[in-house]
């Protein structure tokens, strides 16, 4: 044992001597907190970090990149501009988000910025499912002309010119070479570790808490009416479905059809999770509803037969006012304050 320690000590000492580390960058977060999490009874995630080994240094780099406005052409917009921790990484109070400014006009998107959590279970990304892997997801907003409007060669050139990123990349990858692959792996690590699994619902499932009577009634109604698409425990089946939202005036958005080129996929969007709804309003892919009451009213009274509604919604849901209140009581057990208040995901000041 002593010999092993002896070797370990020498190894550490020589590493420190032979590869100097810039001390100007503040210390990284505690490694003990960072690991892959698969809560009991949850399915196996799609992304498991096998090719992106988790480290505090990579997480720290990913966090810096997530809040880095250099990712946008005019150095004004970062990922964190539209994905805010207190909003479960949705865009608080924004029906749709603002991108960079072009010719004096702040560009605006057509879709609502989704919350970011439990992303390692997502088989594809964006409301229309166009992006097939968590690591390449950031390329979408970075290069979208109405979001960050950048190019990867230009982003990487900016990062390469930054002493801060030279150090952060060196800490994370043992070499200060800044490549697109490394940048994307670090971002995937930061976002992939945004786990939300500590809502009241989760505590109830673990036998550590109990639903109130209205919550229990709501849960039963949820299982009958909602769970077919918003499947437990992630509260999404990750399928593409139309929930019969009427088209917004002046906005053409055919959803998954844009990707699949199949008219049967018109108006279909990826089922969103129902976790953390207290933080992610407004709701729906186009941000058209401000409250959960409006959402439920849509499912009972508002399905547009012309919007290719899912077969499960063609006859609309039948729920009375009490039942809607119970469902909302249940939905409020899906809020995970431990996640929403976790300052580990905040920009380093």
């Amino acid at each position: 044992m002593r010999f092993k320690l002896h070797i370990a000590f020498l190894l550490t000492a020589f590493t420190l001597i032979s590869c100097t580390v810039d001390p100007t960058v503040s210390p990284v977060v505690n490694t003990n907190e960072l690991s892959e999490i698969v809560p009991e009874s949850w399915p196996q995630p799609v992304y498991n970090f096998a090719n992106n080994k988790i480290s505090a240094e990579k997480f720290t780099l990913g966090r810096a990149l997530f809040y880095e406005p250099m990712l946008s052409i005019d150095n004004t917009i970062s990922c964190g501009s539209c994905h805010q921790r207190g909003a479960a990484f949705a865009n608080a109070g924004h029906r749709v988000s603002h991108g960079v400014t072009k010719d004096g006009v702040e560009l605006e998107g057509i879709r609502n910025a989704p919350g970011l959590f439990n992303l390692t279970w997502h088989p594809y990304f964006m409301h229309d499912g166009g992006i097939n892997h968590i690591e390449v997801q950031p390329l979408g907003p970075i290069t979208n002309p109405i979001e960050m409007a950048e190019t990867m060669p230009h982003v990487i050139a900016k990062l390469q010119a930054s002493a801060k990123y030279k150090t952060l990349f060196k800490n994370a990858f043992d070499s200060d070479e800044i490549t697109g692959e490394r940048m994307l792996k670090a971002l995937a690590q930061f976002m992939g570790l945004m786990y939300s699994y500590n809502s009241k619902y989760d505590y109830v499932k673990r036998g550590k808490s109990k639903f109130t009577e209205p919550e229990k009634k709501g849960y039963d109604l949820f299982l009958t009416n909602c769970n077919a698409c918003h499947a437990e425990p992630l509260f999404s089946d990750f399928k593409f479905r139309s929930n019969g939202l009427p088209a917004r005036a002046g906005v053409v958005d055919h959803g998954h059809e844009i990707i699949s080129r199949d008219t049967l996929d018109r108006n279909k969007f990826k089922t969103p999770s129902l976790r953390n709804l207290e933080a992610t309003a407004p709701y729906m892919h186009n941000g058209c509803f401000e409250t959960l009451e409006e959402c439920l009213d849509h499912y009972t009274n508002g399905i547009d037969a012309l919007a290719n509604p899912d077969p499960l919604l063609r006859n609309r849901l039948v729920l009375n006012a009490d039942e809607k209140r119970f469902i909302i009581a249940f939905l409020n057990t899906l809020n995970d304050r431990e996640f929403i208040n976790n300052k580990r995901f905040d920009e380093e000041k």
């Binding site: 190894l11 020589f14 090719n51 390329l139 979408g140 490549t179 994307l184």
Partner: protein, 261 residues
């Protein structure tokens, strides 16, 4: 005591290794063994018919249409060379982006090729499906290198990009734009090539690097099996049936030209 000696020796070895790993140059000529491998140089020579391809020059394709080319990029991947005894060498991490430029030639050098006489080469035009669905990649597949060759809104590599103009194009600027890809399903656009060296062999040794010249004839894109009507098929920018039609046409894009030993 012997154990202690071993441990001290191990410690020194570990330290030595760490010193080594932080050095820029890892090559230590002192430990080099007599080489049983060599290199093979491949030139992808972009042409239009029998002429070397030049950007901005008018060519008449086999359908009789005038075309001018301004951009030609494509991926060559999964290179395998076969010896005259049918044993093979597979290049690892074999992904190469060829971009036509003034030099007109995309040179790929295969290294650590076992010594021997090689009679044929196989490769793919495009990027295999696995690398299209496995997240961030390195080398020529890194999204910085591939910035011009990756669809960011619907993940996937552009395998073949040809841009230019033709008076026959229905586009207001007479543009021709083919961004061809699609990594799976019925419309997948990778095409495989298996080219013999016409009975000759590339003789790889530690002292000689044979040079294989491959002809990449852009004219082939416009002709068979479907003669493209440039007033209709002047712009294909995403995977699908029209992309597959162009891919079928480029399935005979590349052929053996010559070999220097």
């Amino acid at each position: 005591m012997r154990l202690l000696n071993h441990c001290t020796a191990l410690s020194l070895l570990v330290c030595f290794t760490f010193f080594q790993s932080c050095k820029k140059d890892k090559n230590d000529p002192a430990v080099e063994e007599p080489s049983k491998t060599g290199s093979l140089k491949l030139s992808f020579e972009n042409m239009f018919g029998t002429e070397a391809l030049s950007f901005g020059k008018n060519y008449v394709n086999l359908n009789g249409d005038t075309v001018k080319i301004s951009k030609l990029n494509y991926y060559i991947s999964n290179i395998v060379v076969t010896k005259d005894d049918n044993s093979t060498f597979t290049e690892s991490n074999s992904y190469h982006l060829v971009k036509h430029s003034a030099s007109g030639t995309g040179i790929i050098t295969l290294n650590e090729v076992p010594t021997g006489a090689y009679k044929s080469i196989k490769f793919m035009l495009g990027v295999d499906s696995a690398r299209n669905v496995s997240g961030a990649q390195s080398g020529d597949l890194d999204p910085v290198v591939a910035a011009d060759m990756f669809w960011t809104w619907s993940s996937g590599y552009v395998f073949f990009k040809l841009e230019g103009t033709s008076p026959k194009s229905a586009d207001v600027n007479k543009a021709l734009e083919y961004h061809i890809g699609g990594h799976g399903g019925v419309n997948k656009a990778q095409r495989s090539f298996d080219l013999s060296f016409n009975g000759t062999t590339a003789n790889v040794s530690s002292s000689t690097t044979p040079h294989l010249h491959l002809k990449v004839d852009v004219n082939q894109v416009f002709t068979a099996p479907v003669a493209l009507d440039l007033s209709v098929d002047y712009r294909v920018l995403s995977p699908g049936g029209r992309s597959k039609k162009i891919a079928d046409n480029y399935s005979d894009l590349i052929s053996f030209k010559s070999l220097d030993n």
